[in-house]
């Protein structure tokens, strides 16, 4: 937390100094004004000296005017500093997350990373803003207020010994109850979010299994729980503010009552009594604002810790110090590769060895959860093998610069994701320089030319964030075209044809075979029927290799493969 503040507030040292100086000036002006006021009453009003009233009143007006200017400039700069601080911190988190591998992203969770970059930064930013307005003035106004009150009248200042502890007691009581309640509210809010997120993510399952009622009941429970706790917090504050007001107002009454005796006895001029009143209010206010700031501190510290966690995470996958850049050919080889998730007992992949050569199509099949996607994620180093090696062009991928490695690979993920923009801007993600001819050619191979041509804007047709404004099949084909436009040596298709009908699927495969014949292609497939002609089929079973070979070879030798094929063929016949 202090580290974050020091690092990211450092560049704002000058404006912060300015704000603090202005705050100091304001605090002194605020302490000076009641003294002037006392003076007006003692020497002006009580003696009927109009000239003196005008003169001192003019001075008060002047001081107030300067106070106003100092306050405007101060608030302006404190706002600039805190907003700039927030921007810098968000930038740092963003850069840090960009360097993360899949492992770190999974570790935090995408939602949590977003929260850390928005809500958590906001917490600290608010604290900075408040601190820049309160930090200096609260202690000066409190201590200065006490000193000035003592200067007005010492015995009457004894009241402070009653009022301040009373206020401290009330604040302590409220805080001790409020902080656990705040945490409870946050937990219940998280719970509500969780239920809602599940409802949204699983909307199809919920509908299919007619679980809507059940989900609504779950949501209702979380919602009611949140309401109860929120009510408790709000009712706690319902009693707090009026109590604070009562303490302040009754203090005024007490000061007047006891002050009257002091004035009557001639020990204290009447003007001092009014000044004393103002000092007491200033002290109470300063204490209140300071308390508000301190209430924010624990939350900001928690947020700071969560941000630190992100900033301090060293990505497990880094570029080598002396990268090797072998000649581009497109060969991929797995040598006894193993992968286990951090902290997991059992390896997801064991003893994986096979090779995929230029001009060949290598298919990877296996039941759900057999590790197919994890396996291909090892090639572009989305994960690093925990044992053994993965080689591209005969060099360990860990010895290559990742930019260089990625330039060789065209990756089509399982869930096709498009960025907000246009068709063209999405296709140029792999190669920003790609000309229109290349783009059209890629669309043609990916069987996407027809529907892009049909769009009125053509290549400039808008694509919504995530690609939600095109159908699932179109999204997949655009993602494939994007990989093709990059003209890589190695194509990796992670079950990328799942949303296509059989006809489009067949045409797409034929086009890939024809047009991209020189490249290496690795295809993860669910439907065996579509990879029967692959040069090599790798059968995965429970993280290990059950067999490698052509369809014919495997049908003879590999039981697992036979089971997969038979189950799908009967399945298709039934359908």
């Amino acid at each position: 937390m202090t580290g974050i503040l020091r690092t990211y507030l450092g560049p704002y040292r000058r404006p912060i100094a300015l704000v603090l100086i202005l705050l100091l000036a304001q605090a002194f002006a605020n302490l000076y004004l009641p003294a002037l006021y006392a003076d007006i009453i003692n020497n002006g009003v009580a003696k009927g000296d109009t000239a003196y009233i005008v003169q001192t009143g003019g001075l008060m007006l002047g001081v107030t005017f300067l106070l106003g200017i100092a306050s405007i400039v101060g608030v302006y700069w404190s706002a600039r500093v805190s907003m700039g601080f927030g921007r810098d911190l968000r930038g740092a988190i963003f850069r840090s997350v960009e360097s993360f591998s899949q492992i770190e992203v999974n570790q935090f969770g995408a939602a949590s990373l977003i929260t850390r970059n928005t809500n958590d930064v906001q917490q600290i930013q608010q604290l900075v803003l408040l601190a820049l307005n309160v930090m200096i003035s609260a202690p000066i106004l409190t201590i200065g207020g006490v000193i000035m009150a003592l200067r007005q009248d010492v015995p009457l200042s004894g009241l402070l010994l009653v009022i301040i502890p009373l206020m401290a007691l009330l604040i302590g009581f409220v805080m001790s109850r409020a902080i656990p309640l705040f945490q409870a509210v946050q937990k219940k809010l998280d719970r509500l979010n969780l239920v809602m997120r599940e409802t949204l993510a699983g909307v199809r399952v919920i509908r299919a299994f007619v679980r809507t009622r059940h989900e609504e009941a779950r949501f209702d429970e979380a919602s009611l729980d949140l309401m109860d706790t929120s009510l408790k917090v709000n009712r706690l504050f319902a009693i707090t503010i009026p109590s604070l007001m009562a303490i302040m107002n009754l203090s005024t009454v007490a000061v007047l009552y006891f002050g009257a005796y002091r004035v009557e006895s001639g020990a204290m001029p009447i003007g001092n009594l009014t000044a004393f009143l103002q000092y007491i209010l200033q002290i109470l206010f300063a204490i209140m604002t300071a308390v508000i700031m301190f209430v924010m501190v624990p939350r900001a510290v928690v947020s700071g810790g969560r941000i630190r966690d992100v900033l301090d995470t060293i990505p497990s996958i880094k570029d080598p110090v002396t990268p090797r850049a072998p000649a581009r050919r497109g060969r991929v080889e797995f040598r006894n590769a193993e992968f286990r998730y951090p902290g997991a007992e059992e390896a997801v992949l064991r003893q994986i060895s096979f090779e995929a050569n230029p001009g060949e199509m290598t298919a990877i099949v296996g039941s759900t959860g057999s590790g197919k996607s994890t396996l291909i994620n090892l090639i572009p180093r989305l994960y690093d093998a925990t044992a053994g090696t993965v080689l591209v062009d005969d060099v360990d991928v860990r010895d290559m610069d990742r930019q260089d490695l990625w330039a060789r690979i065209g990756f089509v993920p399982q869930r096709a994701f498009l960025f907000g923009g246009t068709v063209a801007s999405n296709l140029r993600i792999g190669d920003a320089e790609a000309d229109e001819a290349t783009i059209w050619r890629s669309l043609e191979i990916a069987q996407a030319k027809a529907f892009v041509t049909a769009m009125p804007e053509g290549l400039e047709a808008p694509i919504a964030q995530g690609g939600t404004n095109v159908s699932g099949g179109q999204r997949q084909r655009l993602a494939i075209a994007r990989a093709i436009a990059k003209r890589p040596d190695i194509y990796i298709f992670d079950d990328s044809f799942s949303a296509l009908d059989f006809r489009t699927d067949a045409r797409l495969r034929a086009a890939i075979r024809r047009e991209l014949g020189d490249a290496t292609s690795i295809i993860v497939a669910q439907r065996v029927g579509t990879i029967l002609h692959a040069d090599r089929i790798v059968v995965l079973d429970n993280g290990g290799i059950a067999g490698v070979g052509t369809h014919e070879e495997l049908m003879r030798s590999c039981v697992t493969y036979q089971e997969i094929v038979l189950s799908q063929l009967t399945g298709e016949e039934v359908a």
Binding site: L23, A27, N30, A46, G48, T50, G74, G109, T115, T118, N119, Q122, Q126, L127, L129, N133, A138, A178, F182, V185, Q186, L189, D190, N193, M196, L200, E216, F219, S223, L224, L226, M227, S230, L231, R235, L236, A238, I241, P242, A246, M248, N249, L250, V253, L256, A260, Y261, V263, E264, L273, L281, F285, I292, V295, P298, S303, G305, R306, Q465, N469
Partner: protein
């Protein structure tokens, strides 16, 4: 990994400026009620503004709908307004009565320093003769008995009344916020239920074309903002308007001239 603050949807609380009237409430649902009335000279650090959120396309329509959501709570909102009126009335009368107490004190102090035995008129005449016209005028308008000090009986009586008035103001203010908390939380709860029920009825196509984060942030963040507005802004609106009216009224009764001067002052 996730601290007590856990994960929240993106953008939650993104456009909230810090507000000293809200000591560190996590999210809006927990926000305490606003400071009640303008409290003397707001010390430094008390002048924050809420950053403006994205403007609603149809503000009037949305506002009317929001009022519609409050329909079931109408009797209670009526009670809140009545309580607010009473509370503000007491809060506004307090300083006026306190002024009377100061007058008693001031007159006592002045009176004590005047020679015993002489009547007020004699002293005024004497002052005029000496050319101290302003002091003479001030004295003549005051209820002073020369030689007699502060009337502690009267002072105590006034201060006792002021204390009671202030206490009552706080009690009514508490009752008002207490009820409003219930109104707000129940309304927000109903709103969440209705959104959830609606999501259960919407066609699947809606979920395909709407990003999940967006829907999520509507259910949580947007409803959160409504809760804040109801709990904070609505109460504040009622009490602030009433306070301005009340204070104006009291100022005019104390001195129409000073009231006008202080109103024109800022211009």
């Amino acid at each position: 990994m996730s601290g007590p603050m856990g994960a929240r949807p993106s953008g939650s609380g993104a456009n909230r400026g810090p507000d000293p009237g809200r000591p560190g409430a996590p999210g809006g649902l927990a926000s305490p009620p606003p400071g009640r009335r303008p409290m003397g000279h707001g010390g430094p650090g008390m002048m924050f503004m809420q950053a403006p959120a994205a403007r609603s396309k149809d503000f009037r329509g949305s506002f009317r709908r929001l009022l519609g959501e409050l329909r079931p709570e109408r009797p209670l909102i009526g009670a809140v307004i009545v309580l607010a009126i009473i509370s503000v009335a007491f809060a506004v009368i307090g300083p006026k009565l306190l002024g009377n107490a100061t007058n008693v004190l001031f007159e006592g102090v002045i009176g004590k320093n005047l020679p015993i035995g002489a009547s007020k008129d004699q002293i005024v005449a004497g002052l005029r003769a000496q050319g101290q016209d302003t002091f003479a005028e001030m004295l003549s308008s005051m209820d002073v008995t020369p030689g007699v000090g502060v009337d502690f009986g009267a002072l105590s009586a006034i201060l006792a009344i002021v204390a009671v008035v202030y206490l009552l103001s706080s009690v009514f203010s508490w009752a008002q916020t207490y009820i409003m908390a219930g109104v707000t939380q129940r309304t927000v709860y109903r709103l969440r239920e209705r959104v959830d029920a609606k999501l259960g009825r919407l066609p699947l196509a809606y979920f395909d074309h709407q990003s999940r984060g967006d829907i999520l942030s509507r259910v949580t963040n947007d409803i959160d903002n409504i809760s804040q507005t109801l709990q904070q802004s609505l109460t504040q609106l009622i009490t602030s308007v009433l306070t301005v009216l009340g204070v104006l009224l009291v100022m005019l009764t104390i001195s129409p001239l000073l009231a006008v001067v202080s109103l024109l002052g800022p211009l």
